[in-house]
C-alpha cells in the first residue's frame, strides 16, 4: 500500500478517494516466507521493496477472452457488401 485513503491527493474523485493507492511488483524473496507475510524483496533492477506476499510465481492470465459472435456477423456483412454487384 502506497497511500491510505486519507493520504490520497486532493484532486482525486470521491470513488477513488475511498480506496487506498496500492502497488504490485514481481520480485525475488530475500528469505523464506508464507503467503500473507510482510516481506522484503529484491526486484529485477536490484531495488528493495517491502510489502505483503500475495502470490508465488504469478502467471499471466490474460487471454483472448470469451468468443464474441458479433465479430463473425461483421465479417459476413462486409464480405457480402464487397462481393455484391460492382
Amino acid at each position: 500500500m502506497i497511500l491510505t485513503p486519507e493520504e490520497r491527493a486532493p484532486q482525486v474523485p470521491d470513488d477513488t478517494k475511498k480506496v487506498p493507492l496500492e502497488m504490485w511488483t514481481k520480485c525475488f524473496l530475500l528469505e523464506d516466507a508464507k503467503i500473507g507475510d510482510e516481506v522484503t524483496v529484491e526486484t529485477v533492477t536490484g531495488r528493495r521493496e517491502t510489502g505483503k506476499l500475495i502470490e508465488v510465481n504469478p502467471a499471466y492470465n490474460h487471454s483472448f477472452g470469451n468468443f464474441i459472435p458479433e465479430l463473425l456477423q461483421i465479417d459476413k456483412q462486409v464480405r457480402q457488401l464487397l462481393e455484391g454487384g460492382e
Binding site: I2, L3, E7, R8, A9, Q11, V12, P13, D15, T16, K18, V19, P20, L21, E22, M23, W24, T25, K26, T43, V44, T45, G46, R47, Y60, N61, H62, S63, F64, G65, N66, F67, I68, E70, L71, Q73, I74, D75, Q77, V78, R79, L81, L82
Partner: protein, 469 residues
C-alpha cells in the same frame, strides 16, 4: 542533512528538483518569465537533428516501416460514399518496429540520450506501448529499466490490454511497477526517480517528440517515391499529442503540405481518475480522456514544458465512437488479412469516414499500426466490456454512451466522425494560460506565442483575451 520526507505533499514539492536531475534539461533557459516560452529553441537545443535521429533509429532497427495500401477497405468506403468520392486508404505499418509500435521511435531517442549522459537506467510512467518501447531500447543499450503502470482497479482487476503490456515489458527485461487507479502514480514515479537516479524517459521531452519526426518525414519520402506525390491527408490517433506533433513536424521538414487530422475515441463522460470508471473503458489510450485535456493544455505532463503541442499542428480534430473502431479493426482482419491494433485503428476508423469526403484520386494515410495479441485484440476487449456490464449490440454508433454500451454499426455507412470545435479548444488554452501564469495583461511576446500555440493569428488571440478579461 535532515532525512527527506516522503509524504505526498513533500514529494510533490520536490518535483522540479527531481525532474531537473532526471531529465537533464534546464527548462528555465527557454522561459520568458510570463506565458511565452521559446518552443523552437527548446526543440533545437535539446533535441537532435533529423539526420541524427535517423542514424540513431536505423542503428537499432527502428523506422523505415512499410506503407500498405488497403484496397479492399477503400472499395468498402466507396460502396457507401457519394459517387466519385472515396480516397485511397493507406497505413504505415509501425507494428514492424522492434517493440511493435511507433513508440520505438520516441524510446530510441530517449534511451540513446540517457546512455550518452551516463545514466545507468531509465524510468518511465506509462500504461501504453511506450513502456515496451523503452524496455526494448534499454535492452539493446544494456540499461536497466523500470516501467510504472496504472493497471488495476481497487478490486485488483486489470485492464487486459495493460496486463499484456506489462507482460511485454517484463519479457524485455524491465521491472514493472503496477499501481491502482489514480493520478498519484506520479508520486511513486518521483520517489522511484529519486531512489534510483535513473533517467526520466518521459514521453514529452524534446528528444521523445522529435523521435516521431522521422515518421512524418518517411511518409512523405515513401509516397513521393512510390506515388509521385505526398498524401493529401494524414490521420493520427491523438492522446498526449506527441504522435501528431512529431508527425507533422517531420512532414514540414520534408516540405509536405498535407492536412493533418487528429482522431480520438469518444469516451466523453468517463472520468479518467475514477476507480469505478477505470475498467468500463475499452480503450486505454487514443481516447478523448487524454486527447482533449492534453490538446487544450499540453503542460499537464510530467515535464515542465511539453514538447507535444498538438493544437499547433492539427488542421482538424475528430472523434469516433468505440463501436466504429471495433468494427473497423475486424474489417482490417477480414478484408485486408491484417490483425493490428487497437491504437492505430482509431485513426483508421476515422480515415474510413474522412476518405468519403475526398475524391477517389486523393490519398489518405493512417500513420501507425501496433501489434495485437492476447489482451489487446478486440475479442478480449469486447469480452472484458461484457464482463463489466457494458452492452454490445448493432445499431447507430452515434447513439453510443461510453461506459454503458458499445454500438457496432448496423452498416459501414454509419461509421462517421464527429468534428471537434478547435476554436473552442483554442479559447480554452488561452484561458488556461492566463490562469496558470496569473497574467492579466499579456505581453506582445505572449500574444505571439499564443497565436503559435493555437495556430491562429494574433487578432484571434487578442479577441479571446478581450472576452476573458
Amino acid at each position: 542533512m535532515a532525512e527527506k520526507k516522503n509524504d505526498y505533499a513533500s514529494v510533490m514539492g520536490r518535483k522540479a528538483e527531481i525532474m531537473l536531475k532526471s531529465v537533464g534539461i534546464d527548462y528555465s533557459k527557454f522561459e520568458s518569465g510570463s506565458i511565452a516560452f521559446d518552443y523552437e529553441k527548446m526543440m533545437r537545443e535539446t533535441g537532435y537533428s533529423l539526420t541524427e535521429m535517423q542514424e540513431i533509429q536505423y542503428s537499432v532497427n527502428v523506422g523505415n516501416t512499410p506503407i500498405l495500401e488497403l484496397k479492399n477497405l477503400t472499395a468498402l468506403a466507396r460502396k457507401v460514399a457519394p459517387k466519385g468520392k472515396g480516397a485511397r486508404i493507406f497505413i504505415k505499418d509501425e507494428a514492424c518496429n522492434p517493440s511493435g509500435s511507433f513508440k520505438a521511435r520516441r524510446a530510441a531517442n530517449s534511451v540513446y540520450h540517457a546512455k550518452r549522459l551516463g545514466f545507468k537506467g531509465v524510468l518511465t510512467a506509462t500504461s501504453g506501448n511506450y513502456g515496451a518501447a523503452v524496455a526494448s531500447q534499454a535492452a539493446i543499450h544494456g540499461l536497466k529499466c523500470i516501467v510504472v503502470q496504472e493497471c488495476y482497479d481497487s478490486h485488483g482487476v486489470g485492464q487486459p490490454e495493460i496486463v499484456e503490456k506489462a507482460r511485454k515489458c517484463e519479457a524485455l527485461g524491465a521491472e514493472v511497477v503496477q499501481l491502482s487507479v489514480g493520478p498519484e502514480l506520479f508520486y511513486k514515479f518521483l520517489l522511484l526517480l529519486e531512489e534510483t537516479g535513473y533517467f526520466n524517459a518521459s514521453l514529452y521531452t524534446p528528444f521523445g517528440i522529435a523521435g516521431v519526426e522521422t515518421l512524418g518525414y518517411e511518409i512523405s519520402m515513401q509516397f513521393r517515391e512510390k506515388y509521385g506525390k505526398d498524401p493529401d491527408v494524414v490521420v493520427c490517433t491523438n492522446a498526449g499529442g506527441g504522435n501528431l506533433t512529431g508527425t507533422k513536424r517531420g512532414l514540414i521538414k520534408a516540405g509536405a503540405k498535407c492536412q493533418v487530422i487528429g482522431a480520438s475515441v469518444d469516451l466523453s463522460g468517463l472520468h479518467m481518475a475514477s476507480d469505478n470508471a477505470f475498467n468500463k473503458k475499452s480503450f486505454t489510450t487514443g481516447h478523448t480522456g487524454f486527447g482533449m485535456p492534453f490538446s487544450s493544455w499540453p503542460d499537464r505532463s510530467d515535464v515542465p514544458r511539453s514538447a507535444a503541442r498538438p493544437l499547433r499542428y492539427m488542421d482538424r480534430y475528430v472523434t469516433i465512437p468505440q463501436g466504429c473502431v471495433f468494427y473497423m479493426t475486424e474489417c482490417l482482419a477480414t478484408l485486408e488479412g491484417l490483425e493490428k491494433g487497437p491504437a492505430g485503428n482509431t485513426a483508421l476508423a476515422a480515415a474510413f469516414s474522412l476518405a468519403q469526403e475526398l475524391p477517389e484520386d486523393h490519398m489518405i494515410v493512417v500513420q501507425e499500426t501496433e501489434y495485437t495479441g492476447a489482451g489487446k485484440h478486440i475479442q478480449p476487449q469486447l469480452s472484458f466490456a461484457k464482463d463489466n456490464g457494458i452492452k454490445i449490440f448493432f445499431g447507430d454508433p452515434s447513439e453510443e454512451v461510453p461506459g454503458e454500451n458499445i454500438i457496432l454499426p448496423n452498416n459501414p455507412a454509419l461509421i462517421k466522425t464527429k468534428e471537434v470545435d478547435l476554436d473552442h479548444m483554442r479559447r480554452s488554452l488561452i484561458k488556461q494560460a492566463l490562469e496558470v501564469y496569473n497574467v492579466k495583461e499579456p505581453t506582445d511576446l505572449d500574444v505571439r506565442f499564443l497565436a503559435e500555440e493555437t495556430n491562429r493569428d494574433e487578432a484571434f488571440v487578442r479577441e479571446v483575451i478581450k472576452e476573458l478579461v
